[in-house]
Subunit: 300 residues, 2 copies
């Protein structure tokens, strides 16, 4: 058996298309086809359902895919680790972060990059579900996501901070001077909210239900800055996480009031998949965050 062939299967299962899978593997399409045939032959089982086009994997194929994914990720881990030992800490650390956590990422990534010139980061804004899947498929090294709302499986976690919720309004709105706003009051406003594929929105919805309210958002988006933009433009109010307002401060002309009744919090933290051996890159991030937390250098 050949590692390349396992990668072919992984690519095919992800792309669901022979040509694109071949491209992803940097080989020609016949090479990928032949490699998969050889793999099927060696394993003595059909893995791919072939009609005139890709039609999915067989049950055996799914099983082999699950293993192959893991094996390929470990081979990558081996190579990254080795390069890190040779050239000092090097390679790309891929972090998936939910949008509301993006403002705190820099307080982790800045000390991480300091003094590690070879280290490269990818910070990807993703939904909590995409993060979970990305970790499982070893496309991410770590995630920053909710810890307590929709439980995760097979991962280790480290709490970073607790998310609190604010109503963001223009200062000249009726609620524009209130020190606190209830969820009930907020629900009655014209609201700009995140789209329902984001866990933040699902949290907001569930708190609303609990408060006996049903918001009818005038605008939905998956970008928080778009949310803020629309508040500033006077489209309506928005419900945002406190963390989002920290770094530059509150934009001029806007007002943010804590949401109460209920005053709810959700833990957000670093999440990574337990692997053995533990990749040096991930290890570095985790020990750094532990140290930051111990020394009280993390916000909130």
């Amino acid at each position: 058996m050949q590692i390349a062939q396992l990668r072919y299967l992984v690519a095919l299962a992800r792309e669901r298309h022979f040509g694109r899978a071949a491209e992803a593997c940097h080989v020609s399409q016949p090479t990928l086809s032949a490699g998969l045939q050889r793999l099927e032959e060696e394993l003595g089982a059909r893995l791919v359902l072939r009609g005139r086009r890709f039609e999915g994997l067989t049950a055996e194929g799914e099983r082999v895919f699950a293993w192959a994914q893991r094996i390929a990720a470990d081979v990558d881990g081996l190579q990254v680790d080795l390069r890190a030992m040779r050239d000092g800490l090097t390679g790309r650390l891929r972090i998936g972060a939910i949008p509301t956590s993006l403002p705190v990422v820099s307080s982790l990534s800045a000390p991480l990059c300091a003094g590690r010139p070879g280290l490269e980061l990818s910070v990807l804004s993703m939904s909590s579900r995409e993060i979970e899947q990305g970790l499982r498929q070893a496309e991410l090294d770590a995630g920053i996501t909710y810890l307590d709302n929709e439980p995760l499986s097979g991962v280790r976690t480290l709490r970073l901070y607790r998310e609190r919720y604010l109503l963001l309004t223009t200062a000249d709105e009726p609620l524009g001077q209130s020190p606190e706003v209830t969820w009930q009051e907020a629900a009655a406003r014209r609201l700009c909210l995140l789209s329902p594929d984001m866990q933040n929105r699902r949290i907001v919805d569930s708190i609303m239900r609990e408060a006996g309210a049903a918001p009818r958002p005038v605008l939905e988006t998956n970008s928080i800055s778009t949310l803020v933009d629309h508040v500033r433009a006077g489209v309506g109010c928005a419900i945002v996480a406190q963390s989002w307002l920290r770094p530059p401060g509150l934009p001029a002309g806007l007002h943010a009031a804590p949401l109460v009744e209920p005053r709810r919090e959700h833990a957000i933290g670093l999440v990574w998949r337990e692997r053995e051996p533990e990749p040096l890159l991930a290890r570095t991030l985790i020990t750094l965050v532990r140290r930051l937390r111990r020394e009280g250098l993390l916000p909130e």
Copy 2:
């Protein structure tokens, strides 16, 4: 990179000898040598310290070994799983069990083998430390060992029963009729105990210390049946786990009394390493044990 080359490294690290490693891989010695050289070349790092003989691995080599071990185990898992899907449950399930747990293994293995003609078992008597290492190195699929005394890491567990301790004597000894014996009293007798590399012995020693006693065993062995033999031969008393006396009953002419002050118990259970995807073989064992426990078919 090539899976075979990773296996060469794993074999070499285990055998610490090129010739034997080659034999273990079913290839010639030059093949293994050349394969390792190519691996070093591809990875761009020396892995093996070469003098005139094998002199260990470099730091990089140790790291690659750790990954390679994992990768090789997963490739095996893939193949075993696939065969299981084709031919029904087949392959060899390797279980390591501490000696005192051996009598209960058959109550697991018998229902496991029933109706699964393709399934083969290896039950290996090992120390708890060997079991821990065997699981880590993927040389075992599961273990039966202490759960609470010397904590395990990176594994999942399922309790089977609680171990209690008895003093085994000949019936004509001074204590040969007592319904109960204190650890203090036992310590004063001529004792036959397991050797100190076994956790059972370390448990006995710690309870003894706690009871303010210090046993001077007249005989040490790593075989429980040898222990019983020597009691029968009149060499002394022995401290054994209750489970050991269950299957054939107490041998004629012997007496077993529960040890009290303190009356101590230690949990013994099934232990397996968390892997993803979960191998079908291990999964079968675990669900079987869960069912047996739920239905109360496990002893004690």
